[in-house]
Each structure stands twice: as C-alpha cells, then as structure tokens.
C-alpha cells in the first residue's frame, strides 16, 4: 500500500461514471497527490490506533497489561482473556439479547413504517394529511426527553425487564415513514393500477408491486435501524435491570466493574462486542454506506 495506489484526478477530462466503465487510468504521482495519500493514510493509522491498542492488550497475559514501562506488543501472546470472557457466559448472553432486540426493532419498524408509508402514498382516507403532519412533527421529539415518563409508563404496563419493553419504544421512528413515502411516491401509478384492475387488493399491490421495486430503500432503512438498535444505550439501560436481559452496550456498560481492573479481559470483551457489526460492515460495505447516507439524514 504505497501512496501511489491513490489516484488523484489531476488531469482534465477524467471520465465520469461507474468504475467499470472507466478505462484503467495510468497515473503519475504528483506532489499534490502524494501529499493527499500520505495525509489520508496518516489519518487512517490514527483512527485505527485505539483498535490496535485494544487488540494488543487483549492478547496479553493479565500481569503484562500493568507492567512498567508500557510495552505495546505482548511478550507472550495468549487467548487466555478471550477464553475467560467467553467462559463467563454473560457476554454471549448479551450478544444474543442484542440480536433478539435488534431484529425485533428492525422487523417491526419495517412492517409498520412500510404499511404507513404505503397508506400515505397510495391511498386516500379521512385525516390522512393531518396524521402525516403529526408524524413529521414527531421527528422533532428527542427520545431522551421521553425517558423518564416512558419508564413510569413501562412500569405501569409491566414491560420493564422484558424484550418488548426494550424494543417497542425504539420502533417509533416516524422519519422512516417519511423516507419510504418519498420513495413510494416516485413509483408510477400505472403499475399498481394494472394490478388493481386484475383484482388485487392493497396488500397484494404492496407485496407484489411496490415492495419488489423498493428493495434498495428497504435495505437502507433496515440496515440503519438495525445499527441504531444494536448500539442504543440510554433506553435499554433504563428499561433493564436484570443482567440476563441486557444488550451488549448495557451489559458492558454496567458490569464493566465486574471485569475489575483486568484490562486484558476488558479489551477482549470489547473486541468481542465490536466484532459483529464490523464484520457486517466488511461484508456489506456498499449497502451499509448507502443505508447510513440515505436514512441517516434525519
């Protein structure tokens, strides 16, 4: 990975378009281009440094982490910390809980928001306009404002320390309706009218016509919702007191003292807690980037 692998379009007439259509450019390393490459790589190293430090610590035997002077590389690398953390079991439980809660939030968000967006985009009913305005106004309410009364309400409903109690408030994301409606609005009426002439009801039109044409936006909304739910801290923290029901951020946040000052174990737990989404990102970078930029502009 030398600096020369960065191409900087210094020459005029650089063809636009997707990478495949672009002829393989021969590039010469200009001073400006090299400076950009060096800076970009420097920033990348700075940004990766904390992760490298965490991983190196996690591979040390516990006494080595607090040895003076500080040594970056483990003298005797070991997976002992990982073995201990996994054997304790709670982190695996939290990962499982995170999967359950995030899938619940994502599925429920997609189902309820797609249905609502379809209704706003493709049907007429009494009160449609003001209901939409009400939902849009809901975007302005920061969830943090609701935490205290929401906890009071959840106690009343008996949903504290349940998956439903953690998940349901996170489903109320009116911004997703707005994003989906904008996309549905652009689907030509001809398609759905053809289906309706064939006798299809609204559910069939939604399922057979609208959804197949909306895969990219559904992926974007789904990915963004999943990432948010996976990393959400404040509400799950308030809504769970039972360690067996905690998600990864809450579990690692509250029980961090349980690892005491065992830094290798803390870092092993951190690495394990960070891995799932990072792997998802590595596999689906394009979709994640699109999801974040499309749905993230709320």
């Amino acid at each position: 990975m030398t600096s020369a692998t960065l191409t900087i379009a210094e020459r005029p007439g650089t063809p636009a378009g997707p990478a495949s259509a672009r002829p393989r450019r021969r590039f010469k390393v200009t001073p400006g281009g090299a400076a950009i490459a060096v800076l970009a790589l420097f920033l990348a190293v700075v940004w990766l440094l904390p992760l490298v430090w965490a991983i190196l610590t996690s591979l040390k035997p516990e006494p080595e982490t607090t040895a003076v002077p500080v040594r970056w590389l483990p003298l005797e690398p070991t997976f002992e910390a990982y073995r201990t953390v996994i054997a304790r079991g709670e982190l695996m439980q939290w990962l499982m809980n995170s999967v359950i809660v995030s899938v619940m939030v994502t599925v429920l968000t997609l189902v309820t928001c797609v249905m609502a967006a379809y209704a706003f985009s493709k049907t007429e009913f009494w009160g449609r306009k003001w209901l939409f305005v009400l939902f849009i106004a809901g975007i302005l309410v920061p969830p943090q404002v609701l935490i205290v009364p929401l906890f009071d309400e959840m106690t009343f409903l008996g949903l504290v320390d349940t998956y439903w109690g953690v998940a349901l408030p996170q489903v109320v994301a009116p911004v997703m309706i707005f994003i989906l409606k904008r996309f549905f609005d652009a689907i030509p009426r001809d398609y759905e009218e053809a289906a309706r002439i064939d006798g299809a009801g609204h559910l069939r039109v939604l399922w057979n016509v609208v959804l197949p044409m909306s895969v990219p936006i559904l992926a974007a909304v789904g990915i963004f919702t999943f990432v948010q739910a996976w990393n959400n801290f404040l509400w799950p923290f308030v809504a769970t007191t039972d360690p067996a029901l905690m998600t990864v951020p809450v579990g690692l946040g509250t029980v961090q003292s349980a690892y005491g000052i065992l830094y290798a174990q803390q870092m092993a737990a951190s690495v394990l807690g960070a891995v799932p989404l990072i792997v998802v990102f590595m596999l689906f970078q394009r979709q994640v980037v699109r999801g974040v930029t499309d749905a993230g502009l709320k």
Partner: protein, 319 residues
Amino acid sequence: MTVHANPTETPDAAPAPRSSSPPAVSGTARRSAAGIWFVLPFTVLFAVFLIWPLIAGLWASFTDRSLAKEDSSFVGLSNWVEMFGDPAVWQSLWVTLLFTLITVPPLVAIALAMALLTHRATARIGWFLRFSYFAPFLMPVAVVTLIWEWMYQPEFGMINDLLATVGIPGVSWLTGEDTVLPAIALTTVWWTVGFNYLLYLAALQGIPAYLYEAAALDGAGAWRRFTSITVPLLRRTTTLIVLLQMVASLKLFDQAYLMTNGSGGPNYAARPIIGYIFESGFTGLRIGYASAISYLFFAVIIVVSVLQLRLFSRKEDAA
C-alpha cells in the same frame, strides 16, 4: 429536519422510477377505509410510546410524582420555579453547551477533510480508508468507553505513554476537572466522525464530473476548481451536517455517563443536562422534577434548531 430533499443521492444508487402519470388522485374509487388499517399499527405505537409519555411528562412536571410512592398531587409551577433556581440545572446545561462548542467544529472539519482526501481514492485503498474512518461509528458506546478509559489510564494507558515519548508528563485525564470534558470530546470525535464523513463523501460523489472538466478546460487550476465548484456545492450538505451535529452533541449522555462511572466527573465537570435529568428521575426518583427539566431541554433543542435554520437560510439567500 428531514424536510430537506436528500442532497446526497449517490449517482450509483438505483434511481427511483419517475412518475409517468400525474400524481393527482382521481375519483372516489381510491378513497377507501383500507388506508386506515395500514396506518393503524404505527399510529398505535406512536400514540402509546410517543404521545402518551410526552403528555404524561408535561402533566408530571406539575405534580410531585415520584418513583418512591404510589400517588402524586398537583403542585402547580413549583417544579418549574425550583428548576429555574437550581444551579445544577444551569451548570449541567453549560456543560452540554461547552461540549457542543468543542465537538461540532472538529466533527465537521475533520469529516470534510477525510472526504476530500478519499473521494478520488481507488477502489481497494478507498475501501481500507472508508473502513478505518467509519469503523468506530459501528461500535457500541460501552465498547468505545472501555477502550478509551483504558487509553486514558494514567499509569499504563496508551495516551500518557505516547506523551512520555515526546517528553510530556502524564495527565489524569478522566479525574481532572479541566481535562475530563475535553477527553470525552476527543473520544466522541473519534467515535462519530465517520458518520459525517459518509454524508460528505456521498455529497462529493454527487457533484457531476463535467463541472470539473469544463472548469479545467477554461484553465482553472486545482485550487480554483476546489474553491469555485466544490466549496459552493457542499454548502447545503454542510448546513445539514452542522445542524445534525449540533443536535447530536446537545444530546450528550452515554459516553459522559460511562466514562465518569455515572458520577458526572469531578465537581460534575462532565455531567450534561440529560445526566441531570437521569439523576433527578432515577437516582432522586423525582419524576415530576425530571420531567420539567426534560421539557427545558426539549425547548433548548427546538430553539437551537430554529435559530440555525433561520441563520442558514438567510445566508443561502444572500449567496
């Protein structure tokens, strides 16, 4: 905020099909009850988990509602009066504003720099750079704070170790009254800059290449092309990012709470307003009082958003 049209539609994104027929709705055949059933599930959730707590919170702010006892009574404006005279409210609000002031500029500027540095990178190295800048954003907050607490650790941590190699004496980052908030701010910049970076990257990739080609043919140099094409075309995106970032920074809680172990730091130097809401509600058990402060915080968010929209729209008119 979503009322903005999406300025970052990437060129490679699948184009939404354009409507070929007029969008007007025709006839009474389309008017049916079906739509109501479709909005019903979301409307129920919206009513139960947004409208209800919003109204319950407002009502509670006029009562002495507490988690410690069953019933509550109406106390009029006493929570509100107490709030305006409570130095902890103003102190935590100041911590929040200070955090916002020190995090927004780097979170916007570094994101822009990263996007400008990488948007012409080749596929392979571009992948690596995007990964490096964005990966922290995907980490749960507790993972971020665990790693950074260990980095800030005074005797064995990475930061003081790096400082020692250039001859600077170690600092007790998270236990010093003057350093705790900047330390949390630094962590936040590292953690969240990737999000703004992606928004800038998408905006840059949305600028048509022919603009640069035309300018180059007219003899504009690289710097000239940057100042007269890139900068003005990024103005809208910058407005949006600054607005989103200010609101996000004002919502500081998670990392401040975790990095001070819930204590708010020495002399509460890192207890933001949401931290004080949390304390009043869940440690002090005073739902009524915490609700009043929640509404104050809500008002601050709304005022900042409106002021900013005003300011930016005036600027855009002038441009």
